[in-house]
Symmetry: C2
Subunit: 281 residues, 2 copies
């Protein structure tokens, strides 16, 4: 698999890169960013996967996420994929809304037309991109963690729940925890996976836990001034599911914070420290 | 003087705001950002002024500058003005270039037509905006520092050199140090101030030092992979002037860094720590 370098900038002693490659999953060119912290030649480093929210590309967190300082301190590689296929011929939301189609892949492999051909973000993020990253960066594949924001928090939780042996830890900022029960998720899962709701359960963190998926622990932050909190995010549903399943969940309500990168960047170093502790050794 | 709030976001325990007001200097609406760190009610805090480079608005550093963590730690208010007047009727570069006119005010009061009416960034940044900020934020006006990037480094150095009693410290990332001697500066100072080069000397850090202006010390970082280093920035000219004038200059060549916010953000906390030490008490 080949990729090409879009940009490289030295930052915090390491290298922030942006890369593009022809994805066989999405049948489009895909862009992603990778930060490699300063390290001794020949060392292999743990990797943290960051999944972004609605409307984002790799660029939002790369520019506003304030993760490089902590990644340099804790020697973490940080990978940020795009949130959907893009480009000529890729179908979007018929009504051009922000919450479906372009920028809103929801980390599923679509089964419905006309999306099934390109919208394969599940396989892209869990299979194709990890292979590409492992081939091209000094990654220790035995030490991986995953986190995400909003729709990307949904992605991080569902991917971790279905790959408990691959990711040592999972966390989220203001995640969608039960897409089957909230408007964003109902629209997206219905649009990509069809009306048979049984198929949605593999892409719904709360349903996965109800169905027996387990993680050793979880860290979730949300802001109580988040405009999407009560309608779309509903962290109490995750709390209830984790309590029943006895999954240790650290759920922190952050007073006065909203849904933006001002919130994410404030707690980014904290999450990365938490992951770094679990990625040791 | 009144202003209105464009946006407010909680970040690192404080508040990142963006504000707009009708400027009597530029005769336009002007937008700026202010970060106020967490603080006890009634406290007045030191303030750091950040002047941005060519093409920037307040938004670049606000989103990419990674200053809030350090400002919260050191209790600094951080103000980021725009780099020029903007809006209907404001003349730009006749050739629409990025290095003159909109986004390129160069922190001077223009004397040449058609720019003299609106391009009054010197008075805006040194007089009008400080008054507005002092009226609306918990600022201790006896504790101010200034820093900037590129064209904004030029602004920070010249403003500090001409107000040695107002700013306790001044620093810059990759500043233009001698605009009279480099293409960006010759175009800008000629365009705003006319061909009589004597008038340029008050807006040229190296010339100001040659003409007797003094500062107790200076901190300047630049990257040796900066694409503008040898033609536009020429830090050696500042080094020479400071040596002759016996101004203690800490000039750091940062290996592998370029002109971008990846460079600035890497060293931002370091500069803010340096300023905070000088703003104590």
């Amino acid at each position: 698999m080949s990729m090409h370098t879009v940009s490289l900038n030295k930052a915090y002693g390491g290298t922030q890169g942006v890369y593009r490659h022809a994805s066989h999953e999405t049948r489009t060119d895909m862009t992603f960013s990778v930060y490699v912290p300063p390290h001794a030649a020949g060392t292999r480093l743990p990797v943290v996967w960051y999944l972004s929210g609605l409307t984002c590309t790799h660029a939002n967190v790369t520019e506003k996420g304030e993760f490089r300082s902590a990644c340099a301190e804790f020697s973490l590689i940080f990978v940020a994929p795009d949130t959907s296929p893009r480009g000529e011929g890729v179908p979007g939301d018929p009504a051009n809304a922000y919450d479906f189609g372009l920028g809103a892949g929801f980390y599923v492999d679509a089964t419905q037309e006309p999306f099934a051909r390109n919208y394969r973000m599940w396989s892209y993020v869990t299979e194709e991109l990890p292979k590409l990253v492992a081939e091209n960066f000094p990654v220790d594949a035995s030490r991986q963690s995953i986190l995400g924001h909003s729709m990307g928090g949904h992605g991080a939780l569902t991917i971790a729940l279905r790959h408990p042996d691959r990711y040592r830890s999972a966390s989220a900022f203001a995640p969608i925890v039960a897409p089957s029960q909230v408007p964003w998720g109902i629209k997206a899962l219905g649009g990509y996976l069809g009306d048979a709701r049984q198929a949605w359960r593999k892409h719904d963190a709360v349903a996965l836990i109800e169905d027996g998926a387990r993680l050793s622990e979880l860290l979730v932050d949300y802001g109580d001034a988040d405009q999407f909190l009560t309608e779309q995010l509903r962290p109490e549903l995750l709390q209830g599911a984790c309590e029943k399943a006895k999954i240790p969940l650290t759920l922190r309500r952050q007073s006065g914070y909203d849904h933006s990168y001002y919130f994410i960047s404030t707690f980014m170093a904290d999450h990365l420290r938490w992951h770094a502790e679990r990625l040791k050794g």
